[in-house]
Amino acid sequence: MSSTARMLERMAERESAWQLLLVRWSEVNSGSEHAAGLARMCAELERAFGELPARASRLAPAAGGRAPTLSVRCRPEAPFQVLLSGHYDTVFAAHDPFQRCKAMADGCVNGPGLADMKGGIAVMLAALTAFETHPAAHQIGWEVLLNADEEDGSHGSREHLIAAASRHHLGLVFEPSPVADDIVRSRKGTATLLATARGRAAHSSQAKTEGRNAVVALAEFLLAAQALNGEIDDIVLNVANCAGGGAVNVVPDSARAEMHLRSSRVAEGERAIARLREIAAMISGREGFGLDLAGGFNRPPMEAQAAVAPWVAALQTCARELGQTVVERDVASASDANFFAAAGLPTIDGLGVDGDEIHSDREFYRPASLGRRARLVALLLARLADGSLERPALRPLST
């Protein structure tokens, strides 16, 4: 039996252990704003990845960030460097009722962050644990990079992500698979926008005369903004939150809302923002009212990369060997892969587990996909390490 076959065989024995570890991680709340929970999750990850022959370090977040980016690096001197990236925050806040996992009738597991994307982190750990038993492992240096604010826009970690992109030849991102065994080829860019409406306060008995209701002005703006979804192809605009006013017998003089905008093409994105500015100007033109729009694109669109094609071909070869079919998909949501692609790193995304209904309390994953994905990634690394698969040309690194 070959070393590679033995590696794959051993992986099957540990599959249920990884699934149990994932449930444990899922039940550690690590909402993007929950600093204490993020600290607990970071410690869990440090302990788990500490089993590998690698050096872990905590990269401090930029101002405003709540938790460090965890970097686990192995053989930085090796000729071929692979980046494995993910995030350990989730969208579920500390007080969200959705905190526990439960088995579903069809064999799936429902729980916070199982698919997005603690499952992907488990895939990384399972794959690297297996790969490090392979005799050719010394051919590949790798770095696991786990940030704590992806769901919040990666503002505190993006400098670390961009810096890491420049020291690797290939990026693997473990966001959940788009469907079944598929991977992600392109993602939309995302903009965060803040609309602030201003009016004039008055007692509510003077609502029609003195008052200028900022809540109503904001509501009109939001309806026009939402309508852009049908007006401009290729954008997705989400009105995400709103707040304004106070005592109900006072005409509110201020109200605000945050919106999230996605576009796969820069031109469409800019057109949407220009339309929003027109609508804001129209409302600002009314006597006693103002509407300010702040913000812009946060993650650039990730367009299909030519340089990633040979790596995808290698992955598909490994998949066939395992009886899997891997198809490239274009998806709407942005991830940190958008930063890696923009930085010129050939990046394959969507290598995490198979699941769905993310960002809701119906989030679930298919447990079998954890092992399938881990075998695929471990096999790709092993084949690239021992030369049994032709390695695509490596891009020159700047340092």
């Binding site: 965060t192 939001l222 997705v236 006013g245 809701s360």
Partner: protein, 397 residues
Amino acid sequence: MTIPAPILALRDRGDDLRDRLTSWAHINSGSHHYAGLERMREALRLAFQPFAGAQIETVVLPGTPAKALRVRCRPEAPRQVMLSGHYDTVFGEDHPFQRCALLDTQTLRGPGVADMKGGLLTMVAALEAFEQLPEAVNVGWEALLTPDEEIGSDASAAVIIETARRHQLGLVFEPARSTGDLVQSRKGTGNFTLTVHGRAAHAGHIPNQGRNAIVALAELLVALQNIPAELPGVLVNAGRIEGGSAALNVVPDFARAGLNLRITRVADEALVRARLQTLLAPFQAREGFSVELTGVFDCPPKECGPAEEAVFAEWQRCGLALGVAPFSWVHTGGGSDGNLLSAAGLPNLDGVGPVGDGMHSDREFCRLPSLVERAQIAALFLSRWARGEISPLPQKT
């Protein structure tokens, strides 16, 4: 019409009233400042103490440490009048507006000088003159001074209504308008919460499984703006909005708005409710959404009836006899405890306090000469009522 000497003598009390009003305004009695409310209640107790035969009582209110002050005199007299006022103000302990200033010799600016410490002083001054008159034996009065009018009178509503039921007439010492006009009628008001539940989903695709609760609420709030045009006399204020979360890529499944609705006539309530149901129905029928409206019109409109018409005509007659500049009365959108008196079936005249403006802002002022004038009118009215010179008031059935 002869003016009794003690009522004429009020003319010399201008400086005294100005100084007392200033000292009262300097006691902060914001609705939530309980220590300040207690100090103000003590100042009022001292002001009522000189009235021989008056029983002064502190009234405990449910759910608040703040208390009301009740002063009752001659409960056995054939005619009974309720004198209504509140001693809280909208200005909290930490509000910058705490001191009075004379804008000119006739205008005092300060917190609560019009709304309604000036009104309380008008009440006291009127009683000081009236109690010197022999005919006072025919009128019993009950002053009920409450600490929570500015925050909706939730705690004192029950005691106000219970008190109103044992009187034939109510006088509400809210300020007169800046024109000198009294208040003919007031809008009723109700606070409502409009809640929309949608469905959360990752907002990565269009279409998606999500149902955006904020967008649905925005549609409702815009639609609600048409109600005042469709139902004249109705006002709608969307006073507060909240919804969604910091996770911007999640379709929000929850949004809520706080509404304040005002109606002019009691009959408006059913019309507004029907209109709201019609507006909400299509939203409630939308797949994936649930829409809920909760709340009540807890403060009914104060409508003007024949008893109010009669009392106001007498009030004008008294003003004319005293040489006070002519005044009328007007409808106002703001509520007062006068609404509660009306709800209890007590005919009442509202806005009988001094002339002022700028209420609820740091521009609040009181026209000082009106303290004397309005106290004289109130005292003269009570004197004539006590002497039987005013025909019996039409009673509500």
